[in-house]
Amino acid sequence: MIMGAAVISCSTFKGDPGNPMDGLREQVAASVLDEERAQSILSSVDRIDELLAESTNILVQAQNNERVLFLNYDSTREEYQALMASERGERREVQEQILALHLSIKSQATAEEWGELRPVMVDVVASRIEAMTSEYN
């Protein structure tokens, strides 16, 4: 019952058997035959995976902090504003890094490769969001 509340599964991170990012890695290997570009794209995918885990940790920590503030009848507006600003700064930094990596992948892939990678990326999103939703509900 706290703003942005959701308990997000941490079970889908890099290296775990059910990590949907592995499907994306496989697709990169299958679609990008130029080894140098494939490695570069895979390294971006790995970094995005790490940043998503970091983002999840930030989110879970923020929810815990927000819950503490909410339950404390004496918490002040200044405390809320400081928490929100800090959380926003951390998340925005992660967002900007992921966007840069995303655009890097897009620019390194040819139009044909991108056409094959994009649908897999959509599937990755769907499974990630579904995991988040089912963990919450």
Binding site: Q81, M84, I129
Partner: protein, 124 residues
């Protein structure tokens, strides 16, 4: 794609509502004056509506970004513009949320607050 994961991460999880039916029932059960209880639940509902609005905006933005990914020539500026708009809306929503929390305190006493939102185990 990854944009959408990111959006989900930066905005929160899969739920669009903060207070569930049990929270509303607890307010109505614990606050004896109907007018005060109604004022409290109205504020709680406003928070839920605020989050629903943000949730829907997120969905719209995800759709926009998925479409943007179709355009191989879409520039970074176009992506960033979408994110700037989202962050602005999120900041407005969180500011409104904080205002609403403090308004809730005007309707709910300290003891009622604890009984409603942090009841001892077994009293939920």
């Amino acid at each position: 794609m990854l944009m959408a994961i990111l959006l989900a991460s930066l905005l929160g999880g899969g739920s669009a509502e903060l207070f569930v039916r049990d929270d509303f029932r607890a307010v109505e059960r614990i606050i004896e004056e109907p007018e005060r209880a109604a004022a409290a639940t109205a504020t709680m509902q406003r928070i839920n509506n605020r989050l629903n609005g943000l949730f829907n905006q997120r969905r719209e933005l995800v759709a926009s970004l998925v479409a943007l990914d179709l355009d191989v020539d879409a520039s970074a500026d176009v992506y960033e513009k979408h994110f700037d708009e989202l962050w602005l809306r999120r900041e407005q929503a969180t500011d409104g949320y904080v205002r609403d929390v403090f308004e809730m305190r005007e309707h709910i006493s300290r003891e009622e607050w604890a009984a409603i939102f942090d009841p001892p185990e077994g009293d939920e």
